[in-house]
Symmetry: C2
Subunit: 329 residues, 2 copies
């Protein structure tokens, strides 16, 4: 099994990427890791030389965080992200992971790796934390801004297979993000999708309201890329706002500072529970190979989590399973 | 000025509604308050008789929280909500306030009160709390599930007028809820709306991401009813989840319990900052009169807030201003 890692993408690249690859190589000797990037940038981090299952693939360019996605992918054909994508396309790697420009990675998936036959629109599927610590796979969270009911059905099927293959769930519960739980609720898109879901080979648990998502009421949450992205950022914004106000309150007097110091480990655990990095590694599902997005702020621990998820999904036969589901359709 | 209050709608009806009306009547002797409901349910709460500016309008029926909205409005023509709506329609009241079934109130607005000429789809416009305590008027948050760009433009114009007339803002900043701040971001709907907004007589500050809404980056946030509702419930859900985990952490040991007790007032202030009731009273904008939704769990204090906002908007000439903006268009 071969996993290509875009060593140049992300806030802590290439250090975090290289450290994670070296740790992964030691942990899984049966897997090959290919670090893609500028050799002169990578070299200083190879202190004790490279283990047998880590190699370097040369890529002269880098796609930056503020590059316009589609243009960057078209023009920077020698960039680490595009080179890694080409390796997946040509079978030189089974999967690629990048913590770089999200839009550019989606464009790399579409334009370089290519859609799987039968799939209309690939979907970005990150895991969101839930209170019961199981987490929920949400898709699409940003690849497809104007989704059709059929796209949502494909997300439901692919998300269901991902939870089976990557997380060993027998019958993942699939929910449809909506403004109410009743069947008749929602916009035209969700009303039509609801009917498709009811007749699909999935364990459909009905409409799910955004306020219940973090309670873990489903294992796969299906939504269009626009409202899914709104939901995700609203959760982030609310959490950020609450912690900001808490911090102000807890440092306002010496008494509250003292009390807050006692509670510090507890606050840490609360933050950790809401921490997206705990589940780092969002697959872009529906491509001819596995493309995985790491959070832009990924450190080596987060990158290792992404690598682990990617490896489990590959060993579980995810790509073959999705191909089987959609071939001839 | 006459304000009809649906005395039967909401978790604490009719007590909260009656108490609020009596307090409001004492505070604003120039305003007439009409309590609409079943006299035998209201009577026990009129302990010392009624002041001159509070009257009762008889309504034999009640629309319940779980009634199917449109059917309930069509069939229960003698319900407190529909009777109040009819008073607005016929000019017997300038505004109505209800903390009852939201869907039924929107149906009452459309079917009983009626749309204002020139307005295609009324929008529900609650205030959301922001960290700077100014709050943001968000619309539409649930009346119009399949919005068109022109509807969003009307929301921008009406929301802007509401902040001017009800809150005395000279030039409210209008933002468009989107998945990124760049002009080219979003789905077809927001891309087209962006262009309309740029050429409209409003102070358009561009796209606003859901994660920045609570920071108070705009005074009016425009969105379609579906994604707006997703955003609102995602914020509620995230806040609920965080406070739930905090509570568990803070009561886990005797030391943390002690520290938490010291911090209790601080936590109370944080919760209050996120409290939607502080801004109770969401106008349904675009109707032939003012229809205001109170939160279902409104107590008398929250109802009084709703009454105050309604009164300010009426005195500011909100309805005339919106009519002026859209007449002949």
């Amino acid at each position: 099994m071969k996993i290509a890692i875009d060593a140049m993408g992300g806030d802590h690249a290439p250090k975090a990427q290289i450290e994670a690859a070296l740790q992964a190589a030691a942990q899984w000797p049966d897997t090959e890791f290919i670090l893609v990037g500028r050799p002169e940038a990578l070299q200083p981090h190879f202190v004790g030389g490279l283990p047998k299952n880590v190699t370097v693939a040369k890529a002269a360019e880098v796609i930056e965080a503020d590059d316009e996605p589609v243009r960057a992918v078209r023009r920077k054909t020698g960039s680490s992200m595009v080179v890694a994508g080409r390796m997946v396309k040509e079978g030189a790697a089974d999967a690629m992971i990048s913590a770089g420009n999200t839009g550019a990675l989606m464009a790399t998936g579409l334009l370089v790796v290519g859609r799987m036959p039968g799939i209309e629109r690939p979907g970005l599927a990150p895991m969101l934390p839930t209170l019961d610590d199981v987490g929920v796979l949400a898709l699409d969270l940003g690849a497809n801004m104007d989704a059709k009911p059929e796209h949502l059905l494909q997300y439901a099927l692919m998300g269901s297979l991902y939870r089976q293959k990557a997380h060993g769930m027998a019958q993942p519960r699939v929910g449809l993000l909506n403004v109410g739980t009743e069947a008749a609720k929602g916009n035209e898109l969700t009303k039509e999708a609801f009917e498709l879901f009811e007749n699909a080979p999935i364990r459909f648990v009905g409409n799910v309201e955004a306020r219940d998502v973090l309670d873990g009421v489903c294992d796969v949450l299906v939504c269009d890329g626009f409202s899914g992205n709104i939901m995700l950022k609203a959760i982030e914004g609310a959490a950020g706002a609450i912690f900001k106000v808490l911090r102000q309150e807890l440092t306002s007097t010496w008494k509250s500072k003292l009390a807050a110091a006692i509670l510090k480990p507890g606050f840490g655990r609360v933050r950790k529970k809401m921490d997206y990095n705990e589940y780092n590694g969002a697959p872009l599902l529906g491509l001819n190979g596995l493309v995985v997005k790491g959070h832009g702020s990924s450190d080596s621990r987060a990158m290792l989590t992404a690598i682990k998820q990617t490896r489990t999904a590959l060993s579980g036969g995810l790509i073959e399973a999705i191909k089987g589901e959609f071939s001839g359709k």
